[in-house]
């Protein structure tokens, strides 16, 4: 069986009501209508970018659909599969590996503001935003967040509105912030978009928001999903047991750009980690948290940020075939075994410990600029899939918060 992607569309039939499960693969084979190269990379990530710390898993794709038969036209076209509107139609992208195992790789909503119809080429480009993009279109109303509400209460109240709960599943048991303090100014959040409001709260609480493949919202800390055991194993080309599944290692870096040992919050508070700063030099981050005015709370927030990001942690991108990354999720723990390449001298065998005889065995040629030991623990902070090439780029950061942690027991 060949590996393949499948794309399914579930349109709205009326306001806030989606149609009963339309099997578009059978009746309207959407995959036939998606031109080659028509899906851009599917990106999910924990942080906003390389030089910042952020909070979001917010991806989007452009779906280029061949519209010869009018299937992707506006609802006015009787042939269209969109009977109510194109906006907010659900799009699922599933991946099937060579064994036929299915995995949901992306679930999003059509954003019709950005949809483009090309009359000449008969191409409709649907902009599909990940499900949490509904946060950008929802406004926090007055009274949603009260002064002295805990961060967790505020998060729940902000999310617990019909436009969001229609699409995503919200359970208070899944709201578990790393830092949970009382808010000094609840009115600050009024009239902010939910996205912006949550952004502030995630930053202040050192937490992230993730929507899983079952549309459940989780607000949680940044700890890897399994702290004791690797959930996925990746091997480099030097692996002696033929398990190589890493195609390339990209952007290997020390993580200095994302290490901050000096935190300012507003104009009246600043703190420095006096242990790391002399070693790594000053690296300052200014946090904008207007809803916290109490200095003790600012200290708690800053301490948490420095604890999380004060020590530079190595990062890199692993490129692998999508079938090897089918079950990888954000914050999963990974072991990477990337030994140096060894080649025996011509006419001799590789010498192995416990078998080689001194004076007879010949040391092999060793090549490779660096190696990675399998006992180091890494966590996934971004996943970018290229459906056209069946490749996935997994961005990982060394787990832990200090110089001696981040290893499997």
């Amino acid at each position: 069986m060949t590996q393949r992607y499948e794309i399914l569309v579930t349109p709205l039939v009326r306001q806030d009501v989606y149609g009963s499960a339309i099997d578009v693969t059978k009746d309207i084979d959407i995959t036939d209508l998606v031109s080659r190269g028509g899906i851009a990379n599917l990106i999910r990530q924990v942080d906003d970018g390389d030089f910042d710390i952020g909070v979001y898993t917010f991806g989007h794709i452009n779906l280029r659909c061949i519209n010869y038969a009018g299937k992707f036209s506006e609802p006015q076209d009787y042939r269209s599969i969109f009977r109510y509107k194109r906006d907010l139609a659900k799009v699922d992208i599933n991946f099937f590996d060579v064994d036929g195992n299915e995995g949901l790789r992306f679930r999003g909503l059509v954003n019709d503001e950005s949809t483009r119809d090309d009359f000449n080429s008969k191409i409709v480009t649907l902009r599909v935003l990940s499900l949490d993009s509904v946060f950008r279109k929802t406004i926090v109303t007055g009274g949603t967040v009260a002064t002295n509400n805990l961060f967790s209460t505020a998060v729940f109240n902000i999310l617990n509105v019909t436009p969001i709960t229609t699409i995503l599943n919200l359970d208070v048991a899944n709201i578990n912030l790393d830092v949970d303090l009382q808010i000094d100014d609840g009115e600050f959040f009024t009239n902010l978009t939910v996205k912006d409001a949550l952004g502030f709260l995630m930053l202040a609480s050192n937490s992230i928001l993730i929507v899983d493949s079952n549309d459940n919202i989780f607000v949680r800390n940044r700890l890897e999903n399994d702290v004791d055991n690797p959930q996925h194993l990746f091997f480099g080309s030097g692996d002696p047991d033929g398990r190589e599944n890493i195609l390339r290692v990209l952007e290997y870096n020390t993580g200095f750009h994302r290490a901050f040992n000096s935190i300012n919050i507003g104009s009246d508070f600043g703190t420095v980690n006096t242990v790391y700063q002399p070693i790594y030099g000053g690296s300052q981050k200014n946090l904008d948290i207007p809803f916290i005015t109490d200095l003790t709370k600012k200290q708690q927030i800053a301490d948490k940020v420095i604890e999380e990001f004060g020590f530079p942690k190595t990062e890199m991108i692993l490129e692998t075939q999508s079938q090897h990354a089918r079950q990888v999720e954000l914050l999963d723990s990974i072991s990477i075994d990337y030994p140096k390449q060894v080649t025996p001298h011509p006419g001799s065998k590789l010498p192995f410990f416990g078998q080689a005889i001194a004076g007879i065995a010949i040391a092999p040629f060793v090549s490779g600029g660096f190696s990675i030991k399998p006992q180091f623990k890494w966590k996934v902070i971004a996943i970018s899939e290229n459906p056209d090439k069946m490749l996935t780029a997994i961005k990982v950061r060394r787990a832990g918060k200090g110089p001696s942690d981040g290893v499997f027991a």
Binding site: V98, S237, D241, G242, T343, L350, F352, F353, Q355
Partner: protein, 270 residues
């Protein structure tokens, strides 16, 4: 190049969760399941009065009909399979001829290949008594159990087996080069031009349609067909490959009653 043989990928790969236990030198035993030509198993403290045992467990019960021991120094050895107790293979044909079971007493080649009646099993046991050099440590590089996909009957054209050293080349300020050679990989291009043999054409179509990698054995165990031997054509030269490129079906000069034109390129894969 008559007799080029193709096989399914090994049913006993470490990365597919096959396991192996050796009586000594167990730390290196899993190398025999890696398809890596530079890594091998070797006994520790063995000699010709010490019998070594290698037990290979397949990831699942599977049907097999071909077996390779690639690059070894065994002289006296036996191989059995598990089926309610250790059983002998039947209708065995090896490089040394027809055999009753896999039971060698004076083996002198560096690679073994056996065909036998298909068996369904999840465990193979190799018992090694002596080596070709007296009292040497016993060693084995690659163990393969598989089934045959087919063998060429005719003579597809080819420009030889290409060994790519995957070198990294840089030029210094002096103008002198710096070359670092990586892991070698092979490429084989076969050109069927006005090709007349139906079985070979069908085999090529089958290989081109495969999703999984497969094995190619250029030597095919036919030592007598070579006047001179060279790298890539030796008994131990068996490679895990996959086809790359399009399957173009056409007839010579577009005359349907003439032979077939077809190309197939094989690239070594991990």
């Amino acid at each position: 190049m008559a007799g080029l043989k193709f096989f399914d990928k090994s049913k006993a790969l470490f990365k597919d969760l096959a396991t192996v236990v050796a009586s000594t030198g167990n730390d290196t035993s899993k190398h025999v399941l890696s398809m890596k030509r530079d890594f091998f198993w070797e006994s520790v403290g063995s000699d010709d009065i010490t019998t070594e045992t290698i037990t290979i467990s397949l990831p699942a019960t599977q049907a097999i009909s071909r077996l390779f021991l690639v690059t070894h120094n065994f002289k006296k050895y036996q191989i059995k399979y598990e089926d309610s107790g250790l059983q002998d293979f039947t209708n065995v044909v090896g490089l040394e001829g027809s055999l009753s079971g896999i039971d060698a007493s004076g083996y002198a080649l560096n690679t073994s290949y056996y065909t036998f009646d298909s068996v369904t099993t999840d465990e193979i046991v190799i018992t090694v008594d002596t080596t070709q050099v007296v009292d040497a440590e016993k060693n084995l590089t690659i163990f393969i159990v598989t089934n045959e996909l087919g063998s060429f009957v005719g003579y597809p054209g080819n420009r030889g087996i290409i060994f790519d050293p995957n070198e990294k080349i840089a030029t210094g300020i002096s103008g002198l080069g710096s070359i670092i050679k990586g892991v070698e990989s092979i490429e084989i291009d076969l050109n069927l031009s006005a090709y007349p043999n139906q079985a070979d054409i069908t085999l090529v179509d089958t290989l081109l349609a495969r999703v999984d990698p497969f094995l190619v054995w250029p030597n095919a165990g036919l030592l007598s067909q070579f006047k001179l031997i060279q790298k890539g054509w030796k008994l131990q030269d068996i490679y895990q490959v996959q086809t790359v490129g399009d399957n173009i079906s056409g007839f010579h000069k577009n005359i349907y009653t003439s032979g077939v034109n077809k190309r197939i390129s094989l690239l070594e894969v991990s």
